[in-house]
C-alpha cells in the first residue's frame, strides 16, 4: 500500500465517523427531550458534519480521482463506508445517544490531540480546529452520563443498559491494519494504542462518578473499518442519500 492510498483511506475513516454520527444526531432535530438539549445535540451534529466536510474534501483531493466530498458522502455504497460500528448504532433513548457520544467523542478528543502534531499539515490543521469543538462534546456528554447515572433509579438503570449494550463496539476504536501501519511508518499518525490508556482513564473516571459499572464482557465486534456493517447503516444511508439518488447532482 502506498502512502497516498493509506492517507486516503485513513482520512476517509475519520470523515465517515464524523458524517455518520452527525447523521444520527440530526435525527434528534425536533425530537430532543427538551428544547435546550435539542439544540445542543444538533449543534454537535453541525460541528461533526463540518468536520466530515473538510475531511472528505481532503480525502477526495488525496485520492485524485476527480471525486468531490459530496460524491464520497452521498454516492458510495454501504460496503464502501469505513466508519466505526459504534457511530451507526441507533439513537435509542436519550441516554443511549449520550453514551454513544461520550465513548466516541472521548476517542476523537485524544485522536485529534495526537493528530495536531502530524507531519501532514492539512490533517494537523483539521485536527486543531476540530479539537476545540470536540472538547465541548466530551464535556457535555460526560456531564450527562454523570447526571443520568447518578440520577434517578430509572435513569441509572437505563443508562447502565445502554453502556452494556454499546460497550461491545468500543474496542473497535483501537482497530489497526495496514493503513495505520503505513502512516505510522511515514510519521503521519501515531498508533491508536498510544491513546488507549488516556481513553480508558477518562471513560473509567466518568463512569465511576456516574456510579455506573463498566461491563465485564470481553466480547467485542469489529468490521466497520473494513466496510462490514451492522444492519443499521443501510437504513441510515437510504435516508441520507435519498435526495442525491433521486435527483442526481441537485444543489440547493
Amino acid at each position: 500500500m502506498t502512502k497516498e492510498e493509506a492517507l486516503f483511506k485513513y482520512t476517509l475513516r475519520l470523515g465517515d465517523d464524523a458524517l455518520i454520527v452527525s447523521q444520527r444526531l440530526s435525527e434528534w432535530c425536533g425530537h430532543g427531550p427538551i428544547l435546550e438539549e435539542d439544540i445542543a445535540l444538533t449543534n454537535i451534529a453541525l460541528d461533526l458534519v463540518g468536520q466530515a466536510t473538510v475531511l472528505l474534501e481532503y480525502a477526495a483531493k488525496v485520492e485524485g480521482k476527480d471525486r468531490s466530498a459530496d460524491d464520497l458522502a452521498y454516492l458510495r455504497y454501504e460496503r464502501d463506508y469505513t466508519n466505526l460500528l459504534l457511530c451507526e448504532q441507533p439513537n435509542g433513548d436519550f441516554g443511549a445517544t449520550i453514551v454513544r457520544q461520550f465513548l466516541f467523542s472521548a476517542y476523537q478528543q485524544f485522536m485529534y490531540a495526537a493528530l495536531t502534531k502530524s507531519s501532514d499539515e492539512q490533517l494537523a490543521a483539521i485536527a486543531e480546529k476540530s479539537l476545540k469543538e470536540v472538547k465541548y462534546h466530551v464535556k457535555h456528554s460526560a456531564e450527562w452520563v454523570i447526571r443520568l447515572g447518578d440520577g434517578t433509579e430509572e435513569s441509572h438503570q437505563r443508562v447502565q443498559a445502554s453502556l452494556n449494550d454499546l460497550w461491545r463496539f468500543s474496542q473497535e476504536i483501537f482497530f489497526e491494519d495496514e493503513v495505520n501501519q503505513t502512516l505510522i511508518e511515514a510519521g503521519i499518525i501515531t498508533s491508536l494504542e498510544d491513546l488507549r490508556a488516556d481513553w480508558e482513564g477518562l471513560v473509567k473516571r466518568v463512569v465511576e462518578e456516574a456510579t455506573l459499572t463498566l461491563p465485564e464482557t470481553k466480547w467485542q465486534l469489529d468490521g466497520g473499518r473494513k466496510g462490514l456493517h451492522s444492519e443499521h447503516l443501510g437504513y441510515l444511508l437510504a435516508e441520507m442519500q435519498y435526495m442525491q439518488r433521486a435527483y442526481p447532482g441537485m444543489e440547493w
Partner: protein, 95 residues
C-alpha cells in the same frame, strides 16, 4: 409518576470584553453547570458572547408592578436630574 420540572434559570451574556452582562432570556436545566452549557448552546451559537452568567430565577427578587406609581412615577417630574442643561463643547462626541 410525577413529572418534575427542572428549575428555571435566567441567562446573562457579556457580548464582548469591557461591556456588562445583559439579560438575554431564560431556560431550564438540571443544575448550574448544565445551565451554562445550555445557555452556550441556545444563546451563543452565533458568536453572541464571551462570558455567561446564570442565576436560578427564584433567586431574583423583583420590584412589585403594583407599586410602580410610587416607585417610578415621582422621577418623571424631575427633569433636572438629566444633564440636559449643559452645553456640550464642540468636538465631544458619544455623549
Amino acid at each position: 409518576m410525577t413529572k418534575k420540572e427542572w428549575p428555571l434559570y435566567e441567562v446573562f451574556i457579556r457580548s464582548k470584553q469591557g461591556l456588562s452582562h445583559k439579560h438575554v432570556g431564560s431556560l431550564r436545566a438540571a443544575d448550574e453547570t448544565m445551565a451554562v452549557e445550555n445557555a452556550r448552546d441556545v444563546y451563543t451559537r452565533r458568536s453572541e458572547g464571551v462570558s455567561i452568567w446564570v442565576v436560578e430565577s427564584k433567586n431574583i427578587f423583583a420590584s412589585d408592578p403594583s407599586e410602580a406609581d410610587s416607585l417610578f412615577e415621582p422621577a418623571d417630574s424631575k427633569v433636572y436630574r438629566h444633564p440636559t442643561f449643559y452645553d456640550v463643547p464642540d468636538g465631544i462626541s458619544h455623549m
